[in-house]
């Protein structure tokens, strides 16, 4: 009995004993390299990586299979070596080394039985894998444990063989693998997978359905339009767990990158026609943006109409889109629009034109300095600061006579932005004919501009009836003389 027990113990341990007896011809070389890792700098790292490359395919295979299961040993040095090498061969002009590394991986992966180590090796193929690595990854595409890293590696490889491997696997895939494959094929915009993905877009499983809808949106074939539109309509273009509305908008947005672009505009208009509520303002904005992205400057009329929309958020978004697409022609159209509007909308259009430095709108800005709305007046003053035009100088110095506190400050700032030697002269002259509060602002401008030659004008303010002005004039004289 004792002999039987001893024999059983021996047999149980025999694989380990036999393994210890298997020769490891590269062990000494590998250990020498591992002792130098992690490398302290790039030079040492490159030197270690060159040493690894000299091990050849078999040596690298041996190194990869030295990884121990968790809790059975410390893999840290090996991880530095293997990951370092994966990154090393991914650099330019190292294709030969890369090919050899893939061959080593093709040997090491089947020999690696520990799941975490296998995942570690598969994930490194995301860095250095190329088309030659596709056969290595194929066996794992339907394995629930390894499909995720394998599919992510194939997405990085992107080659036709990688895509075909995933398309074939999708037929039999279930659960996590199925979802990962659907997502990956969508990400790679693989048209061939569209029929299979369309089937899954009708699934009752919201997770699979969501993955399929977004995959179809990424593939962006017109054949999917009825399905994606129906899914979005079914949820009233609202927000749901399958992301149907977002998928439809992504689809339309991607269609805009194809030629012809008209279907993208049709899809976006479909959304705009059916969505009118404030609750879906963001959906309407997204649809409007697709139209603007496709039509570019030809969308100005659409945007001008949108600027009159009852929803403030939608109006604001339309103006923001207009600002991104503005040119001389559209600026002229917006200038005309501003002339027929008032209040906040007018102020916003002025700001938009000013921020894009549209000199064509200077007459609009000048007239707006006299607008009855303070919001518009402030926008016009700030516009003067933006366009920095001498044409705005005199109107600003007129406007300062009736300006309120906020406008005074804004005018002071605008005057500092106008780039001309004539600013100080005009300011100095005007300063003598404006109310005390405005005089204080103009004194600041002269000080900021170090207008030494305007001392005589400043000195005349010493006779002011306003004590604050006298004090400010004294300070100004001192400041510009320093």
């Amino acid at each position: 009995m004792k002999k039987i027990i001893l024999l059983a113990i021996f047999l149980c341990n025999s694989p380990r004993l036999f393994a210890q007896q298997i020769p490891h011809p590269y062990a000494a070389s590998i250990n020498r390299i591992l002792k130098l890792l992690p490398a302290k700098d790039q030079q040492q790292q490159d030197s270690c990586m060159l040493a690894i490359s000299k091990l050849g395919i078999n040596g690298l295979t041996e190194m990869a299979t030295m990884l121990q299961p968790a809790g059975k040993g410390d893999n840290t040095s090996l991880q530095f070596a293997l990951a370092g090498y994966a990154k090393f061969v991914s650099a330019a002009l190292r294709d030969t080394l890369r090919g050899r590394a893939i061959k080593a991986w093709s040997k090491a992966l089947p020999m690696t039985t520990d799941a975490n180590n296998k995942i570690f090796l598969i994930e490194l193929l995301q860095i250095f894998g190329d088309n030659k690595a596709v056969p290595l990854l194929k066996p794992y595409l339907l394995n629930s444990r390894f499909s995720d890293p394998a599919i992510r590696a194939l997405v990085q490889i992107k080659s036709p063989a990688a895509v075909t491997a995933m398309e074939i696997a999708l037929d039999k895939a279930k659960g996590a693998s199925e979802i990962s494959l659907v997502k990956a094929l969508g990400q790679l915009r693989h048209l061939g997978a569209e029929p299979g993905i369309m089937l899954r877009a009708k699934s009752d499983d919201p997770v699979l359905k969501r993955a399929a809808l977004f995959a179809l949106a990424n593939i962006a074939s017109e054949d999917s339009e009825p399905l994606l539109a129906a899914a979005a309509e079914k949820v009233n273009f609202g927000n749901d767990i399958t992301g149907a509305t977002a998928a439809y908008l992504l689809f339309a947005s991607n269609l805009a990158n194809n030629w012809p672009t008209a279907p993208a505009v049709t899809a976006a208009n479909n959304v705009l026609r059916k969505c009118k509520e404030d609750s879906v303002a963001h959906i309407r904005i997204a649809a409007l943006k697709i139209i603007v992205d496709v039509m570019g400057e030809n969308a100005t009329r659409t945007l001008i109409t949108a600027a009159d929309d009852k929803n403030r958020e939608y109006r604001g978004a339309a103006l923001a889109m207009a600002a991104r697409n503005i040119n001389a022609v559209s600026a002229s159209m917006w200038t005309d629009k501003a002339a027929t509007t008032e209040g906040e909308l007018k102020a916003t259009i002025i700001t938009m034109l000013a921020e894009s430095k549209q000199r064509i709108a200077i007459s609009l800005f000048t007239k707006a300095l006299k607008d009855s709305s303070q919001l518009v007046r402030l926008a016009a003053i700030n516009a003067a600061a933006q366009v920095q035009s001498m044409e705005m100088l005199s109107p600003l110095l007129v406007a300062i006579k009736t300006a309120d506190t906020a406008e005074l400050k804004a005018i002071g700032n605008a005057l500092l932005h106008i780039r001309s030697r004539d600013v100080s002269g005009s300011v100095a002259v005007a300063m003598l004919h404006v109310p005390p509060a405005a005089q204080l602002i103009l004194l600041d401008v002269l000080v900021s501009k170090k207008a030494v030659d305007k001392e005589q004008f400043i000195s005349r303010l010493l006779a002011s009836e306003d004590a604050t002005v006298i004090s400010a004039a004294r300070a100004a004289l001192k400041a510009i003389r320093e």
Partner: protein
């Protein structure tokens, strides 16, 4: 995971949408304060109907900091850790809806703003879904974990006309760390051209910036069973599956490449965003990034010594983690230098600077941005660019080599490995 959840698309929509529309149409302020005068309720008081409502996703330490932001009211919270969620509910009291799946929170029509306070590997996914759900977004830094996610967040926010605020603020308020001065005068100085061009900006302990090199990961972590209160699969979300260990989650996640990027990930956008603003690089990116660092482990973030970004015009940003250059100025240009405390070798700097205009004003109150639909100072566009600095640095560190970059195409030159890290595919099945 979510197949059992029932979603009611119209739940409370009309009632709450009216309140949102009312607020955003900007006419509520006059009409709603007739019962109790505002001054009776104290300085800064806003009636609940005038406050913006928030859904906070991620209720750990960072999420809780934002429960009491003036002018907002938390109406919903979400966390994948039941313990965090319960603690948050205890703080906020009754009436706050609690979820473990952020997509349920996004269904709520009564939520105006979504505050994303999760670890960075979730920022992009949640921000995109929030934009698609019509929510305005307040996102913790770094904006996204990868460059690709950042691009998609930017596109989604702009497509759906959302307001986006990245939660770092040094480009418009507070002293800029050890510089002991706000960014505004620095921006003014640079715009005035008094330092010349191109400029080199150094962020090192000597110029007032600590790169928190203690944010490193651990290797050889033994398998540990997952605590019952944590939905680890959902915590991982789009990140690759790795066996659970407490050092990977919650307050330690910054030490792992799958979720963040150590001190660079943690502090990078705090430090680099104002620098990008100062240099006027909000619409571009560097053409090169050089790294000097020990080799990085593929999972655990390690330390680094120096990262240098170079722009096409010759401007450089140097991240000097160890303060190797003790004499470095914060900004150095051909015509002068600027040191912490606004010290400079330019004589009469303050007087000279007075002649120049201040930088253009910015919208620095996110509630104003939301109510008036105006771009926030640090938004999806410039935030994307400053986050790209962080992510470019992370990629160069991970690969252990210097890289060249095309700021227009936003791709690395001649480097497949680097380009594969721009937008690595996410794990699909967490959904």
């Amino acid at each position: 995971m979510v197949s059992g959840i029932q979603f009611n698309h119209n739940m409370g929509q009309n009632k709450n949408q009216s309140r949102r529309t009312f607020l955003r149409n900007g006419i509520g302020a006059v009409a709603t304060f007739t019962i109790v005068p505002r001054h009776v309720l104290g300085r800064g008081y806003l009636a609940p109907s005038d406050q913006l409502t928030k859904g906070v996703i991620g209720t750990g330490a960072m999420g809780r900091v934002h429960f009491n932001y003036a002018g907002t009211r938390v109406v919903a919270i979400c966390d994948v850790d039941k313990g965090h969620l319960q603690q948050a509910q205890d703080i906020l009291g009754g009436g706050v809806k609690a979820f473990s799946d952020y997509r349920e929170l996004l269904q709520l029509p009564e939520v105006d703003i979504v505050h994303i306070a999760t670890p960075p590997h979730w920022h992009g996914t949640i921000a995109i879904d929030a934009a698609r759900s019509g929510k305005d977004i307040w996102c913790e830094k770094p904006m996204t974990h990868t460059i690709g996610e950042g691009k998609r967040v930017k596109e989604a926010v702009q497509q759906y006309g959302r307001m986006f605020r990245l939660n770092t603020w040094f480009r418009f308020e507070d002293n800029f760390y050890g510089m002991n001065t706000p960014v505004k005068p620095i921006k003014k100085l640079v715009s005035a051209g008094l330092l010349g061009w191109p400029l080199t900006i150094t962020l090192s302990p000597h110029t007032g910036f600590d790169w928190k090199q203690h944010w490193v990961g651990k290797t050889n972590l033994p398998p540990v069973s997952i605590p019952v209160e944590l939905d680890y699969d959902r915590w991982l979300g789009p990140a690759p599956y790795k066996p659970y260990h407490p050092h990977r989650v919650h307050q330690h996640f910054r030490g792992y490449w799958d979720y963040d990027g150590g001190g660079l990930g943690d502090m990078g956008q705090h430090y680099l965003d104002p620098v990008q603003y100062i240099l006027g690089k909000d619409d571009t990116s560097p053409v090169a990034v050089e790294v000097d660092a020990p080799q990085q482990h593929p999972d655990a973030v390690g330390t680094w010594r120096r990262i240098t970004y170079t722009y096409k015009d010759g401007c450089r940003i140097v991240l000097d983690a160890n303060g190797r250059d003790e004499q470095a100025a914060f900004i150095e240009g051909p015509s002068g230098k600027l040191f912490p405390g606004f010290r400079s070798d330019i004589p009469d700097l303050h007087k000279k600077l007075a002649a120049y205009p201040d930088p253009p004003p910015q919208i620095t109150d996110f509630l104003v941005s939301v109510k008036e639909r105006k771009l926030f100072a640090l938004n999806e566009e410039n935030g994307y660019r400053s986050c790209m600095l962080v992510n470019m640095g992370k990629i160069a560190l991970q690969l252990g080599r210097s890289l060249e970059f095309d700021p227009e195409k936003q791709r690395f030159l001649y480097d497949d490995g680097a380009n594969n890290l721009i937008d690595p595919p996410a794990r699909a099945y967490w959904a």
